[in-house]
């Protein structure tokens, strides 16, 4: 049997292979030879064969059949065998295979070997890949070696102990005695590994930590060692670019961090040395900066005095100016961690941070962006936003979504003016419109709605943006919604903020119809656009054109569009008198959370839930006799008793007869007109929007001490108003009505309706029931919310209908005696 080929020979041969297939062939051939050699139990060449196997393993070929051979090599007496054997074990074996346990005995023997290099091999292998079972078995040996005076072995034993502790934390205690005088060693290897061991113990166990702090007085020892390292002269053995043993310095600083954390005394004891390291370390090379970095991390984590903290942040600030991008990177990462706690100090470096937005490295840019957003406040919003918008323009797509969201959030918090806010939103929509998150659309719509004085300006800008580009869906959606809402302002050229544009109704409709047919429009966008066209039927005069469009889409393949078109058609045909009121201008929406409107405030029956969820068609209130089928279609299982509306024959005017009841309230209190319908319908909101809220007040009850009042008291029916202030918005008064019945019979089919003057807005939530029990046995409660932005005197007209002893009863009343606190 010829001698197996040598390792280098094999490597040479394999490298001559021109193709993968050729290589595979060579490998297979060699593996076969090796396998038969193993079978022959050849001791002489086992080492060579395993070495070759390891090479082939690195190329990616299977080598598991060599595992047992590694064990045999480890058991051999030859140092060469052991060297390769242990290497093979570390490469081929792992703790999932039981085979590795066979190593335990060999390792145990080798830990006690007469040659330190053999002991070293065993310690190394155990410390790299020892399983918990092996660690348990051999911990005692490791502990013994931890106490040896041989520094070559002591340092390895320390790291091996770290591994044992990681695998079997319960064994940590047994290493404690051996740590007694580890730090009095002169040998840097031992010092370094000892610090690592102590760090591991302190991190794992609070008891250990306090033991080392108090009993062992670790901090002064470490401070002394660190001081010596800094003050001592040049030591060639440990020098790196003029710094003495930076590895040890860094580990000591890290251990100090753990010792100083949440401990005033320890933090104080290390204060001076930290300041010294921070000021004296050479910063021209990476190695010095590595130490400074660790120092900064330590200063920020312990209970350092403010001067030291400022020093640390300034170091980070200097890092930001460093040419080395690695240094800039760690600076930004660290600043991001400290920006919450040391906000003002970090603010001082704002301009440098903003400059990093222009860096070429992606990770640096991302951190700079995050940090920039964290630093935005009311004072710097204008300047910062300019930089961030510029960044948004030019950054990679992966950043755009986050950046856009960040801009919206910051703008919402700190916008100096409404105009600025709208402009900023416009800028984002036009430059990064396709990357904006879906939930931004409703947020933006709400923001625009609430900026009443900017409506004309906003719709004009959005219209112009649409003329340029209809591909960015969020932009298109917001724009169509606004045009639908404020199209009248657009064509009448009412813009004050900038030069009003001249545009005709037909041009506007052209644009919106263009969206409907364009390939670029998403289905959701088409929905927006159709609804916008429909809304314009009450704002424009070209109703016929709109009717035509709507009827065409009645047979659209898109089910959503079809449904909308059919409903709008119905609106034209059968319910035309309701159309103006339904498609009225949207009221101010209230937000209860920063992430978007969680409810809709409505007046007088208009419910356009397209804003919040474009998937749900708008609920249209119907007189029950004619509309039940439609309501069923809508799945309105939250339907509360729909108000019976007796429709008068008055022709609908702009605003419709819905407002007739209110119209004269703002005048001089003339006698009420013919009973008109006030479908201030408690809206049947889709369940998910309410999230389980029903007729409960949607805010925290804060008793404001406003006395309740009796609004109505006739024929045994008494209606009391209880007041609360809506927590987030002081312009909203929340009234809970309590209806009680002192007569002997129940009042059934009880319906309460209310109307307020034009400057107010009203919302009625669902009543608790529609039966007012006799003899004051219970109340019907219902919540009314009144928005009173102009703080005018609150007046209300109420209409009550119920059935009493079989006959219908109806009454109207004015409520004028509101206490001043409820509307001031």
């Amino acid at each position: 049997m010829p001698a197996p080929i040598r390792l280098r020979e094999l490597i040479r041969t394999i490298r001559t292979a021109r193709t993968q297939a050729e290589e595979r062939e060579m490998i297979q051939k060699e593996c076969a030879a090796i396998r038969s050699s193993f079978r022959e139990e050849d001791n002489t060449y086992r080492c060579r064969n395993v070495a070759k196997l390891l090479y082939m393993h690195m190329l990616g070929y299977p080598a598991h059949f060599g595992q047992l051979e590694c064990l045999k090599l480890i058991a051999s007496q030859k140092f060469t065998d052991k060297r390769i054997g242990y290497l093979g074990a570390m490469l081929l074996l792992d703790e999932r295979q039981d085979v590795h346990l066979l190593m335990t005995n060999c390792i145990k023997n080798d830990l006690n070997h007469s040659t330190q290099y053999v002991q070293g091999l065993a310690l190394c292998t155990l410390g790299c890949m020892g399983s918990s079972e092996m660690c348990r078995d051999l911990a005692g040996e490791v502990e013994k070696l931890l106490k040896t005076s041989n520094s070559y072995l002591r340092k390895k034993a320390a790291l091996c102990a770290v591994h044992v502790i990681r695998k079997v934390p319960e064994l940590m205690e047994m290493f404690l005695p051996a740590t007694k005088n580890l730090l009095s060693e002169k040998n840097h290897g031992v010092l370094h590994t000892s610090v690592v061991l102590l760090t591991e113990m302190c991190e794992r166990s609070p008891d250990m930590l306090s033991h080392f702090r108090k009993n062992e007085k670790l901090v002064p020892q470490l401070v002394r060692i660190l001081k010596n390292l800094i003050m001592s002269g040049y030591s060639p053995e440990h020098d790196v670019s003029g710094i003495s043993d930076p590895f040890l310095q860094v580990r000591i600083l890290r251990l100090l961090r753990i010792l100083g954390r949440s401990d005033d005394d320890s933090s104080e004891a290390m204060n001076d040395i930290l300041a010294q390291v921070a000021t004296n370390t050479e910063t021209s090379k990476n190695v010095g900066n590595a130490i400074l970095y660790e120092t900064v991390l330590t200063i920020m984590d312990i209970k350092s005095e403010s001067g030291l903290r400022v020093l640390a942040i300034n170091i980070l600030g200097r890092f930001l100016l460093n040419n080395d991008k690695n240094i800039r990177y760690v600076a930004l990462t660290s600043l991001l961690k400290t920006v919450q706690t040391d906000h003002n100090a970090v603010q001082r470096h704002r301009s440098t941070i903003v400059d990093c937005l222009k860096d070429l490295d992606v990770s640096i840019k991302r951190r700079a962006m995050e940090l920039s957003f964290a630093l935005v406040n009311g004072n710097n919003i204008r300047g910062m936003m300019k930089e961030l918008l510029y960044f948004l323009d030019s950054c990679d797509p992966e950043f755009k979504a986050d950046c856009a969201s960040g801009v919206f959030l910051a703008a919402e918090k700190y916008a100096p003016s409404k105009r600025w806010h709208i402009d900023t939103i416009m800028r984002v929509l036009t430059t990064a419109g396709s990357y904006v998150r879906d939930d931004s659309v409703p947020n933006l719509i709400q923001l625009i709605t609430n900026s009443v004085e900017m409506h004309a300006y906003t719709v004009q800008r959005l219209y112009k943006a649409l003329l340029d580009d209809i591909s960015q869906q969020p932009l298109v959606q917001v724009a169509s919604w606004c045009i639908g809402e404020y199209g009248d302002l657009l064509v009448s050229g009412q813009c004050e903020e900038e030069e009003p544009i001249q545009v005709t109704e037909d041009e506007v409709l052209d644009v919106l119809e263009g969206l409907l047919v364009s390939n670029l429009s998403a289905p959701v966008t088409r929905g927006y656009s159709l609804t916008a066209i429909m809304k314009l039927s009450t704002r424009f005069s070209s109703v016929n054109r709109i009717k035509k469009v709507v009827s065409i889409y009645g047979s659209s393949i898109d089910v959503e569009l079809q449904q909308r078109a059919v409903e709008y058609n119905a609106l034209f045909k059968k319910y035309d008198h309701m159309r103006p009121a339904l498609l009225e201008r949207m009221p101010i929406m209230e937000k209860t959370a920063t992430n978007g409107p969680s409810e809709i405030v409505q007046t007088n029956g208009e419910t356009d839930s397209t804003v919040l969820d474009t998937k749900h068609p708008p609920t249209i209130t119907q007189p029950p006799s004619q509309g039940n089928d439609l309501l069923d279609l809508l799945g309105g299982n939250d339907v509360v008793p729909v108000i019976q509306t007796s429709l008068p024959t008055k022709p609908p005017s702009a605003g419709g007869e819905l407002l007739d009841l209110l119209g004269d309230l703002s005048l001089t209190g003339a006698p009420p007109p013919a009973p008109a319908s006030v479908p201030s319908v408690p809206m049947s909101q889709p369940p998910f929007l309410l999230d389980g809220l029903s007729s409960q007040p949607l805010f925290n009850d804060i008793g404001t001490g406003i006395p309740p009042m009796t609004a109505y008291n006739k024929n045994g029916l008494k209606i009391e108003f209880m007041f609360e202030r809506s927590n987030p918005n002081p312009n909203i008064a929340v009234i809970t009505i309590h209806a009680s019945n002192s007569t002997e019979a129940d009042m059934t089919d009880f319906v309460f309706q209310a109307a307020v003057p034009k400057t107010f807005q009203l919302q009625l939530l669902s009543p608790s029931s529609n039966v007012v029990p006799a003899l004051n046995q219970g109340n019907v409660t219902q919540v009314i919310r009144v928005l009173n932005p102009q703080k005018q005197q609150l007046r209300m007209r109420i209409k009550l209908t119920y059935t009493y002893k079989g006959s219908p009863v109806q009454d109207l009343a004015e409520v004028n005696n509101f206490p001043p606190q409820s509307w001031q």
Binding site: R6, L7, R8, I11, R12, N43, T44, Y45, R48, A51, L54, M58, G60, K78, F79, T80, R83, I84, L87, L91, D94, E95, R96, Y117, G120, G127, C128, M129, Y152, K156, L159, V162, P169, H188, H192, T193, V196, T199, E203, R204, E237, H238, V240, P246, F247, V250, R254, V287, A290, I291, E294, K325, N326, I327, R328, Y329, V330, D361, V362, I364
Partner: protein, 190 residues
């Protein structure tokens, strides 16, 4: 958390962050050395290696030496045709890891005399031996360059000695290659 899952039962203990693995690979993506300090199956190791090699090779020269990958930080540096790549944990100091890498390269350089990729290819086991004298369990065990090299030298000597001893079969059997860098390198075509 670690790249591996087998130790997840122990994750509730807080411990010091550590280096999880080190990889050396060429610009063509060929693996030249792999040192794993966490237990992983061969399959997992291969997957990680493949992914990481791809990610690092895709980096442009102007980018910084750190990147986030899964929940680890990758510190990498290219020396000639070899990429040295270390995976450290979130709390670790990236800058000192760069120094660790540099120290290892210096050791290789001193040992092989102006080390190049070929040396690592043909003497991979030596590269491992040197690494194992410098790091143990992912931590530096010796901060003096001199001491590491001295230990390697002594161990190499021990190998020599053991080989020149007569084996039980009689005669001298050369069971392993005598270190000769110059021949190894010059007789090579790349």
């Amino acid at each position: 958390a670690r790249a591996c899952r087998s130790d997840s039962r122990r994750e509730d203990f807080s411990r010091t962050p550590m280096m999880q693995f080190m990889l050396l690979f060429s610009r063509q993506g060929k693996l030249r050395l792999q040192k794993w300090y966490v237990p992983l199956s061969d399959k997992e190791k291969k997957k990680i290696t493949r992914e990481l090699v791809q990610t690092v090779l895709a980096r442009k020269p102007k980018m910084c030496s750190f990147l986030e990958w899964r929940d680890l930080k990758i510190v990498y540096k290219r020396y000639a045709s070899l990429y040295f790549c270390c995976a450290i944990e979130d709390q670790d100091n990236e800058l000192i890891t760069l120094e660790i890498i540099h120290r290892y390269v210096e050791l290789l350089d001193k040992y092989f005399g102006s080390v190049c990729e070929l040396d690592i290819i043909f003497n991979f086991e030596k590269a491992y031996f040197i690494l194992d004298e410098f790091l143990l369990g992912g931590e530096a065990q010796e901060t003096s360059k001199k001491n590491v090299l001295k230990a390697i030298e002594q161990a190499d000597l021990l190998q020599e000695v053991c080989c020149s001893l007569p084996s039980s079969l009689g005669g001298v059997a050369r069971c392993h290659e005598r270190q000769d860098v110059s021949t190894a390198r010059s007789s090579q075509t790349e």
